[in-house]
């Protein structure tokens, strides 16, 4: 990166460090921070949508829909996310390719499963076999987002389902007494009020989501933990210009600081939201606000 970096063996101290920290490999870890943030930014709203859909379905008066919603919540919540990550991505990928295969190659005569192999026609491959590397990476990333969203959507659904039930019954009855239809009651009374009950659970979930990101490497996305392990491991001089002993501790320490800082920012934002939502609510928190004002 810098001009004086051509022969790192002669450098020491800060100059050495400045070279070391700007190798191509280190740029990858900085990039991966962006990857993680992007994943969170996309996953959070998508998972919330899954959650909202799941909770609304579970509350539905149409029994099969309600069962579907509850089954989704129960099954996905029942399985450790790590187990999902270990085989769900491959399953999703094969599922998509199978669907495309059915559509694009109707007259394919070979079996799709040949022993262990999963073989679909070339046009059905996702992404296409000759696509550029970034397409593959984006596709892998989207699969990761989908997997995360499905998993955390179920937890969000559970939180929202609980929050909907926590809204004081009297409020809903009042709405009914005013002649609101169930749909109106749901959207105008229940949904606006449930957030204050849902927020502690959702913020907890957000924290869990942030901290599930170290498992991204299982989904084939090269995340910060992957790079921290890779960069931190002991390096011998034969394979690098920057040999060093086992430095994983320092790299993980940097990750720790990163995650703590990220959590702190999240907390501040969530606190603000909580204060807004608590405003005017008939709870201890709302009462404290009222007294302070």
């Amino acid at each position: 990166m810098f001009s004086y970096c051509t022969d790192p063996a002669t450098l020491d101290g800060l100059t050495w460090l400045s070279c070391y920290l700007t190798t191509g490999k280190h740029l990858s870890i900085y990039w991966s921070v962006g990857t993680v943030l992007l994943l969170l930014a996309i996953t959070a709203p998508v998972a919330l949508m899954f959650g909202f859909g799941g909770a609304a379905a579970a509350r539905s008066r149409f029994a099969p829909l309600s069962w579907l919603g509850k089954a989704y919540i129960a099954v996905v919540r029942g399985v450790p996310d790590i187990a999902f990550f270990l085989f769900f991505v491959i399953a999703l990928d094969q599922g998509f390719e199978w669907l495309r295969h059915q559509v694009k190659c109707p007259d394919w005569d070979q079996p799709i499963r040949q022993g262990n192999d999963f073989v679909v026609c070339a046009e059905a491959k996702l992404p296409l076999g000759n696509a550029a590397q970034w397409v593959h990476e984006t596709y892998g990333f989207m699969l990761a987002v989908l997997t995360f969203s499905i998993v955390f959507g179920a937890f969000a659904a559970n939180v929202l389902f609980g929050a909907m039930r926590a809204v004081p019954r009297a409020q809903l009855e009042t709405a009914e007494a005013y002649g609101m239809t169930p749909r109106q009651t749901f959207w105008r009374i229940l949904v606006p009020q449930m957030w204050v009950f849902a927020l502690p659970g959702l913020s907890n979930l957000w924290m869990v989501l942030i901290k599930a990101t170290p498992l991204l490497f299982l989904l084939g996305v090269e995340d910060i933990v992957y790079w921290a392990r890779e960069l931190g491991g002991a390096k011998t001089a034969r394979f690098t210009d920057y040999p060093h002993p086992d430095w994983r501790m320092w790299y993980f320490f940097a990750l720790l600081v990163f995650y703590l800082a990220f959590t702190r920012v999240s907390e501040i934002v969530l606190d603000r939201i909580m204060k807004r939502l608590t405003h005017g609510q008939a709870t201890t928190g709302g009462e404290a606000q009222r007294k302070a004002a």
């Binding site: 190798t23 191509g24 490999k25 280190h26 740029l27 990858s28 270990l86 085989f87 491959i90 990928d93 094969q94 390719e97 040949q114 022993g115 262990n116 192999d117 999963f118 073989v119 679909v120 070339a122 491959k125 076999g129 000759n130 696509a131 590397q133 593959h136 490497f217 299982l218 084939g220 090269e222 392990r229 890779e230 491991g233 002991a234 011998t236 001089a237 034969r238 394979f239 690098t240 210009d241 920057y242 040999p243 086992d246 994983r248």
Partner: protein, 241 residues
Amino acid sequence: MKNLLIGTAALAMMAGAALAESHSVVRMGTEGAYPPYNFINDAGEVDGFERELGDELCARAELTCEWVTNEWDSIIPNLVSGNYDTIIAGMSITDERKEQIDFTQNYTQPDPSAYVALAGAEVDLAGGVIAAQTGTIQASYVAEHGATLVEFSSPDETVAAVRNGEADAVLADKAYLDPIVAESSDVAFTGEDVLIGGGIGLGIRKSDTELKAKFDAAIQSMKDDGSLNALIEKWEIGETF
């Protein structure tokens, strides 16, 4: 008979055309954490013996290749589900693995595995605590031969475990341990080397016979003109052919 031959040839050509289509880019899957076989260099790219070998093989087979890294744990499932087309990750040819995937001919001699322990320490290799990477042939070997196996998920950690006293010794490919022992004074080889694997080959899907044939031919041509031996010597991968 002649007709049949023409028929097969036509079929082969058709398959070849299909191959050209599906394999306009061959994706090479590797681990990127096992020097000198494969590792990520300072620039953040895949490097090592297998990188050079793979690029040369692709050139000889007239294929366009792309490098992909994948965790060791899921390296085979991702191959069979088609996320990349070959495994070139220092994977020893074993009967267990051969039931699942095909291998090309081996491009290294069977590489001895070796024990490394703290320098000067007396180690009971038959009954002591031996570290190995999970899912390697070395881990199976230790489990079968009576020593107490302690497993770690990356090769790095196995060596670290010896340094911090968790394990008495580590069993791994000698070519991997060599540079580590050469550059540090605190650990040393101990005991006899053991021969476990059957050499290293490229892993390829069983259904992908065309690709296997191409790589087999390319490896053979590198063996014949000595360029493979030159690579093996350059990266110190053990015996030449």
